[in-house]
């Protein structure tokens, strides 16, 4: 069973951005993503999920490395300065390259 290399981009950010970010991703050509609700702590303090207002979301995107880099660049440009947000990237293997 052959495995194909792709890139996994993980973004953790403020839940309030969800709608906007998904629009952004779509515009950049991202075809799939997975979201989980999260809480955490970082340079902008502690973010709890008790109150939807204050929670984080964790978005995962599996895609071509070039697209991952484009998404990362866009998010950095538009959101880094003013929002709680981190992102990191990893190499992953997938079975059906046409999906990602």
């Amino acid at each position: 069973m052959e495995q194909y290399p792709r890139r996994l981009l993980t973004v953790v950010t403020e839940a309030v951005l969800e709608r906007d970010l998904l629009g952004e991703l779509e515009a950049l050509g991202v075809r799939g993503y997975t979201i989980t609700d999260a809480r955490g702590r970082g340079s902008r303090g502690t973010r709890q999920s008790d109150w939807a207002q204050d929670g984080n979301i964790r978005i995962e995107i599996v895609c071509e490395p070039a697209l991952a880099a484009r998404v990362a660049a866009r998010l950095r440009e538009r959101y880094y300065d003013h929002y709680a947000m981190i992102l990191f990237m990893q190499d992953v293997s997938v079975l059906r390259p046409e999906k990602f």
């Binding site: 008790d50 939807a52 003013h82």
Partner: protein, 312 residues
Amino acid sequence: MTGIDPVICFFIFGIAAGLARADLRLPGAIYEFVSTVLLLAIGLKGGVELARDTGGMPLVELAGVLSIGLLLPLPVFAIARMIGRLSRADSASLAAHYGSVSVGTFAVVMGYLTTRGIPYEARAPVWVVLLEVPAILVGILLARGISKDVAWDKLARELLLGRSIVLLLGGLAIGWVSGPEGTQSIQPFFFGLFKGILSLFLLEMGLIAASHLPTLRRHGLFIAGFGLVMPLLGAGVGILVGLLLGLSTGGTTVLATLAASASYIAAPAAIRTAVPEANPALSLTASLAVTFPFNIIFGIPLYQQLAVSLHG
């Protein structure tokens, strides 16, 4: 001792538990449940009363209420900018928060008047709907100017389709269509439990407010003073408009309370995306941890007294 409303006690209890760092986090789903029921109940109650009533809302009242939302942000902005020496973005954010309203505060004033048997205009929930959005738009305008960067139509659409407006309007419509008899079967849930549900809501708000109090220390005295003075300004404006419109004493109290209240849900969310450079902790702390407690504990009785004496 009968003077202390238990729902206010729940709020104080929540603050105390939060400050003591008690193990009392309530899951988000409970907050959603409780606030949904409250919003629907407020709308329903208004709708049922409107169905009894024959008269509609005078156009001049519509204009009067809207003008609070459109104009109140201006002095708020000016005070924040000049006296507080805050950035333009932060001042605009505060203007949006304090020009808009808090439905939680409205629920408390409703309960306050009902318990004391003081009548007020049945259409009061409509005022909430009218007051929520305009100030937020004005605030964004103050931050951005008439910028093309802002997708104004999309923004307005999203604001008008926000949770509280939709639930209030939905409740109003259902209460109005079904009327007093039609809603009888759902009254035990929405009306009978109202104050109990409100207690849970205020317990949660107390916990949330407490979790924002530490920020207060960081942002110094200005924000505390601001959070205490602005509601007085707002209440003054509200009473004035209420008297000019010829509202009942109860209605004047409600309008004063609404004007005195500051948004802690719709405004923060909208400003967060439209004016990202504003510090969200600043405005949320002022509105949630200072103004909200002040209004429900001290403000409402005060505004009611003022309304009574000025009405005389």
